[in-house]
Symmetry: C2
Subunit: 462 residues, 2 copies
């Protein structure tokens, strides 16, 4: 058992809308592109979270964005002896942990990985937290070492022998034979989320054949646990906090450009992964055979600047990283460098695997909700690249502010309207020359999914 | 010929003081630790730069910090046919480039690498810039491709055929068969500095036997060229700008802690470099054999957080990265992860080389001097870790402010006094219980070297 969901309120992009029938047809209408949003109160999400989505303008049959919003109960890991899952693990017990969770998954080359991750990632997070239930709720520093076989011991007895000895001595009188590094509770949660992403990716790898899981997905997951918000990002989705009008970035994007040096370093150390077709060097344009012997600008895995090098035969290979902005690609194939899935992705017409260059590990940023008294207009906005490609941070903050002003601070549907407006304004309006924004620029033809999460906390906005 | 120095004003830490005789004895006096500073006007450094240094409290025979301050003329690279160095290259010609340069080198395991780098790094930078003399002084974008054999062509003719064709067409009418990345002048200078560090490191490797170059060194180099200040750092020295009282960090430190993931990634991909003695995993303390089978906190090359893992035989090896803060070490040996030299450095009593884990590549940050009107109190401060270990950024800014207030804004010796004060206050005063600061904390027993560079620019403060 991976984990247990207390309130399965919403699951997968507007899942209640995704059932077969008229709603599904509406959601999959590439021509009309009606924005879907759970407006009615019976569909209200935890924390009065606002959510909206729209399908792409035709690039794929289904919406490849998926979303999930849950409240998850973490119970202690039981002794291995009581497998299969014993009764006492299936009911919420005193001292169990509970976390709020929001996930956005932007699929590519199919929606399979995104659908699977939207259904399971929070359960993997839950599973990784199961060893930590007592430790996280105990104010003393986490034990560095645990007994090998988990038993139902009180937290104090779960300490390593050395840590126990330490506790009996005043710290400055302590003869420290071993240097010890202090590890915070927060870093245990970060480690749990990081490993959950890895386990999720491994599960996709294992089950992709039997479950017919196609493609891969970017994953942006938010966990609220014990007063802190953990934002974990692997891909090109983005999270920002808008607090008193100020924008606080809560993620960064992982693309061939932002991860160039990591990928070049790998290509340099493991040239066999480049399959004799690619060079780990970057050049500002393709080199022609007739240019052999001339000098071309390049940069390697160590450089941020550019320099000239004499062109050799090997430099005629295609660069591992090529292109700029949204057109930048790894091995001329994929435009994001972190996410889940993609285990079968190969360079077109070749046997060169791309997965070794992709990472499933998120960057986790932490925001302490207790360090600031939030007003009802302070929100965390999550969006797939469909939103951010056409609407920048400041514009998003302005739309949110404009919408929230029109509603009473205690009206729980205001965040849903904000999400809806963000999607509508990024999609634009269908004109003769495609989907257009009010300024006549192209709107986003991509799938767009947005969460607007009020930061008042579960006490204020349940 | 690597390069040419127009005004060899100062070279190596207070080199004029380092000649044999009474001054040398003064500079090498570990007991008295007199602070050395070129106060007299005949020794004034370019840009009225302030400089001061003091030797360590006895940890090495000589001062292992070295410094250099120069004005360097870059002349065009000549055709290979006119080797050896022809006459026209030895005199400054019209259109030659000129850069100001400051370097700090903090040696370890001997002063050899630091001395050699202090004498040569600026000449390597000069050499790397020689291809760029015309390009950097031409306002049009740098050519992506150059002819293979450098000839004395006017800059316009130095363009690649494609770029030439482009220039004849209005840019929006241009059929772009090739995607082309724009490369800025600034990024060419960054690339030149990065490659100069590499060439310097290679030269140390080549000549370390014949020149008896011992140890390695951190390197912090500043280049002022065409209105911009380039700060290149490889190691744990630090540069900050103090502007109108505000602190702008111009470097970051490269240590086993800040570079943990890069080093772990290398150890993971190339386990043979760990010599069967080290594990690429990090643990918060050493594991004892009797703890096999228990669970211990760890993190791998992908993690920022911590998680528990079952202890296996392999985990009993010594961690590649171990220790905290100033005591953190790579392979239990070295506390900095970037710099020059260290080609012979091995793990004690073993045949395991450490150099593969060290990088000689600096991080280069750029500050545009023309974007802000600087007052005489705005300065760039460079210091080795001897300064920063005991005096933080804010304290440094306060000392600088206090000193500068006592001198007329146009008094060129004020920056020297500021550097002197920074060194004195970080060294402290010798008491019975060692060198002490006014607050009775331990002063720095390390070598300390400091530059205080006024940002008024060469026009104001020559």
């Amino acid at each position: 058992m991976l984990g247990r969901v207390r309130t399965a309120v919403a699951h997968s992009a507007g899942l209640p809308l995704r059932r077969p029938g008229p709603s599904l047809q509406l959601a999959d209408d590439h021509a009309g592109r009606a924005v879907q949003s759970p407006r009615e109160s019976r569909r209200r999400l935890p924390w009065s979270t606002g959510y909206a989505e729209v399908i792409n303008a035709g690039k794929s049959q289904h919406n490849e964005d998926q979303a999930c919003c849950e409240v998850v109960v973490v119970d202690r890991r039981c002794s291995p002896r009581c497998n299969p899952v014993p009764k006492e693990c299936t009911e919420e017990a005193e001292g169990d942990l509970c976390f709020h969770y929001w996930g956005l998954f932007d699929g590519h080359a199919g929606s399979g990985a995104a659908v699977m991750a939207s259904k399971l990632l929070h359960l993997h997070i839950c599973d990784q937290l199961r060893d930590l239930v007592d430790i996280l709720q105990d104010s003393s520093p986490p034990p560095l070492c645990l007994p090998g076989i988990a038993r139902e011991l009180p937290a104090e007895q779960n300490r390593a022998p050395l840590a126990q000895a330490d506790a009996e001595l005043p710290s400055d009188a302590l003869p420290r034979f071993h240097l010890e590094k202090a590890v915070s509770h927060e870093s245990l949660v970060i480690g749990a989320i990081e490993n959950a992403f890895k386990r999720m990716d491994e599960q996709i790898e294992r089950e992709r054949m039997t479950r017919l899981v196609a493609g891969g997905c970017c994953a942006l997951a938010v966990v609220y646990l014990l007063g802190k918000v953990y934002v974990a990002n692997a891909g090109d989705s983005r999270a920002i906090i808008i607090r008193n009008g100020e924008i606080i970035p809560m993620s960064r994007e992982f693309t061939p450009e932002t991860e160039r040096q990591r990928l070049q370093f790998l290509g340099f150390l493991r040239p066999e992964l480049l399959g004799n077709e690619f060079t780990h060097l970057e050049f500002p344009r393709r080199i022609q055979h007739k240019e052999l012997g001339k000098k071309m600008l390049y940069r390697d895995q160590n450089m941020n600047g550019w320099a000239y090098k004499r062109i050799e035969e090997d430099d005629l290979k295609f660069p591992l990283i090529y292109g700029e902005g949204k057109k930048a690609r790894v091995m001329a194939t994929i435009g994001v460098t972190r996410g889940l899935g993609d285990h079968d992705l190969k360079v077109y017409n070749s046997n060169i695997h791309i997965k070794p260059f992709l990472s499933c590990v998120p960057e986790v940023r932490v925001y302490d909700l207790t360090q600031y008294e939030h007003c009802p207009d302070d929100v965390l906005v999550l969006g797939t690249d469909g939103l951010w490609d056409v609407t920048n941070d400041r514009e998003v903050a302005d739309v949110v502010k404009e919408v929230l002003m029109d509603y009473e601070p205690n009206d729980p549907c205001r965040y849903t309207v904000a999400a809806y407006e963000l999607v509508v304004r990024s999609r634009g309006v269908l004109k003769e020359r495609g989907w257009r924004l009010p300024n006549d620029k192209l709107g986003s033809g991509d799938d767009i999914s947005v969460f607007v999460i009020p930061l008042g906390g579960p006490g204020n906005y349940t």
